[in-house]
């Protein structure tokens, strides 16, 4: 198992290198003349050239790229064109806000969708099942930033119950996490439902009942444990979605996370910040994906065996 993790980490490195290379190259093309951002407008051509030379902007592409990569490891990814702040520090400073938002949204989604999915699977084809599926369908069809706006309209403006943006306490976390969590909940409900429907038909469920296990025990100890496998897979695949959703919710609610950082930076043409934050986002996602795979292995002993034997 340990060897598997090591192997995955080793594979992760070249993938991330290629990704960062692509991004660096694209942003390099797009970035425009960096010197314009640093020197005042009336600087002479000579001063510009000198600055470029000094900052290493005249060096060939690969040298600059490698220098940048070295910078990632040491924590120096350049400074923002706009604020002059350190890119790495800024990103890390806002990372926990996004994780907080994403994590809360995920917990919210699981609390709703897993029980609901189980319930609808056990009551297949009743009106309750149909109603829940309709709800899930609507949830998956609406753009989550619009949901955020509608929630603000209802809860902040009309009812005055919750703040419409910013940070400051649990109250500020509620609407943003519901916004991100609801569409996730819609998807997870459908996934849970179909996973449970599959599991219920399995023979080992009958074996368990023949042992004298109570209905509840059969559903949870035997059924859910097996259904969790496709559910976790789905959650893992949705992490990319949660990141995106966070960016949108962060914009709507003024939540200071990394998603909003990326969007603001692009709107301000702050190239180093955009480059740095996107690359760091990719690293983050690779780490999350690996963690999900490991959790997945712990849930399904067959996969664990595969990982351990392949080494």
């Amino acid at each position: 198992m340990f060897r598997y993790i090591l192997k995955r980490l080793v594979i992760m490195v070249p993938t991330l290198l290629i990704t960062s290379l692509l991004i660096f190259w694209a942003m390099d093309l797009a970035g425009g003349d960096p010197v314009d951002q640093i020197l005042p407008e009336n600087a002479s051509v000579a001063q510009r050239d000198a600055m470029r030379q000094q900052m290493g902007f005249n060096d060939p592409f690969m040298i600059r790229y490698l220098r940048y990569i070295k910078g990632i490891v040491t924590g120096d990814m350049g400074k923002s064109y706009i604020s002059g702040e350190d890119v790495f520090k800024t990103f890390m400073g806002r990372l926990h806000m996004t994780l907080l938002l994403g994590g809360t949204a995920l917990i919210f989604a699981c609390i709703i969708s897993i029980p609901l999915g189980i319930y609808t699977a056990l009551h297949e084809n009743t009106w309750k099942d149909t109603a829940a599926m309709v709800f899930a369908l609507f949830g998956q069809s609406m753009p989550n930033f619009w949901l955020g706006l509608m929630l603000i309209l209802l809860f902040s403006l009309k009812l005055g119950l919750l703040p419409s943006g910013g940070t400051g306490g649990i109250r500020y976390l509620i609407l943003p996490s519901v916004t991100v969590g609801l569409s996730l909940a819609a998807l997870l409900t459908r996934t849970t439902r179909s996973a449970m429907l599959d599991v219920i038909r399995q023979d080992y469920m009958t074996t368990a009942r023949a042992k004298g296990a109570s209905y509840q025990r059969v559903i949870y100890n035997h059924g859910l444990r097996n259904a969790l496998i496709p559910i976790i897979t789905a959650i893992g695949m949705q992490f990319s979605y949660v990141m995106t959703g966070s960016a949108l919710a962060e914009t709507v609610f003024g939540w200071p996370g990394i998603g909003r950082l990326v969007v603001e930076s692009i709107n301000k043409r702050d190239t180093p910040m955009v480059t740095g934050s996107i690359i760091l986002c990719c690293v983050l996602m690779a780490v999350i994906n690996l963690s999900v795979d490991i959790i997945y292995a712990f849930c399904d002993p067959r996969i664990k065996a595969q990982y351990s034997s392949k080494g």
Binding site: F138, M142, F145, W146, N289
Partner: protein, 296 residues
């Protein structure tokens, strides 16, 4: 729809239905899917008429008089901060969402099909290289991809199209590859070789038709997903920008006036939701209609 009857040697023989006919027959039974199709046809008709019959500048902008009118008899969706009728803009603007999502899905589909087919059929090194590449695009959220593309190409409809195609092709590549790998080793393919058919013919006539159903379903669902993505990106300012009447851009406008004129935020969003809902209903219906394991 009656089955075709033939008489052969005096015995009545029923002609089997083609897969397309069978799918359509099963689809018709699904009320949700039918509602979805009806809605989409209506929307396409409405926006086509609006775009051909009316000219945006003269008929809609010029008509703007009163600003910030709440929904009323003359303006069923109200008017916005420049006095433009929101209903007209929503219908007119449908073309952007439809064009961008259909276009990006189509490009993504073609590229994904091609790459996935190569990877699935030949396996080995080709498979590995292609899948590493698609994995990179699969795991990066579309917002990041769009941000990079837009940095390079600026904000416009075409750059948005390109960015979203980049975000779409990987899913199709995966599905195609998986379907092909399941089919490729089956015996009827060997039979094809034994009969002397050339490789390309085998791929087109035998392998691809079996992969068709998951691809069709995914295409429908992706168009819906891309409508949401396109409007999200426009909302963030990374896609189509105001004053173009794209739904996401309209929501971005409306956000500034949400306190006073909430309807500016309501209707474009509803338009997005119902369009995507129609596509999801259709996609789900297709999935059920094409599943050979489903009873009834």
């Amino acid at each position: 729809m009656k089955q075709a009857k033939k008489t052969i040697d005096g015995e009545v023989v029923y002609r089997g239905r083609s897969m397309g006919q069978e799918t359509w027959r099963r689809l018709k039974k699904n009320k949700g899917a039918m509602i979805g199709i009806a809605f989409l046809i209506l929307l396409i008709l409405a926006t086509t008429i609006a775009n051909f019959v009316y000219d945006y500048d003269t008929d809609i902008i010029a008509m703007s008089r009163d600003r910030f009118l709440a929904p009323c008899k003359d303006h069923i969706f109200g008017t916005d901060n420049m006095g433009r009728d929101i209903f007209a803009r929503v219908i007119y603007g449908a073309k952007y969402s439809l064009f961008i999502s259909l276009g990006s899905t189509a490009i993504g589909l073609l590229v994904g099909l091609f790459l996935g087919a190569l990877a699935g059929y030949y396996g080995g090194l080709i498979d590995n290289v292609i899948m590493r590449l698609t994995d990179i695009f699969y795991s990066i959220p579309y917002i990041m991809i769009a941000v990079v593309v837009v940095s390079l190409l600026g904000t416009s409809t075409m750059s948005l199209l390109f960015a979203m195609a980049l975000g779409t092709f990987s899913a199709f590549a995966r599905i195609t590859r998986a379907s092909i790998m399941t089919v490729r080793d089956q015996e009827f393919i060997e039979a094809g070789y034994a009969m002397g058919l050339p490789t390309w013919k085998i791929i087109i006539k035998h392998v691809l038709p079996n992969c068709l159903s998951p691809i069709i379903v995914q295409t429908t669902l992706k168009v819906g997903a891309n409508i949401i993505s396109a409007s999200s990106l426009s909302f963030l300012g990374v896609g189509v920008t105001p004053p173009t009447p794209e739904w996401g851009a309209m929501l971005s406008d409306g956000r500034s006036y949400i306190r006073s004129s909430g309807w500016m935020c309501l209707f474009p969003g509803l338009a997005i939701m119902f369009t995507v809902l129609a596509l999801n209903l259709l996609g789900d219906g297709l999935r059920d209609a094409m599943d050979p394991k489903l009873k009834k």
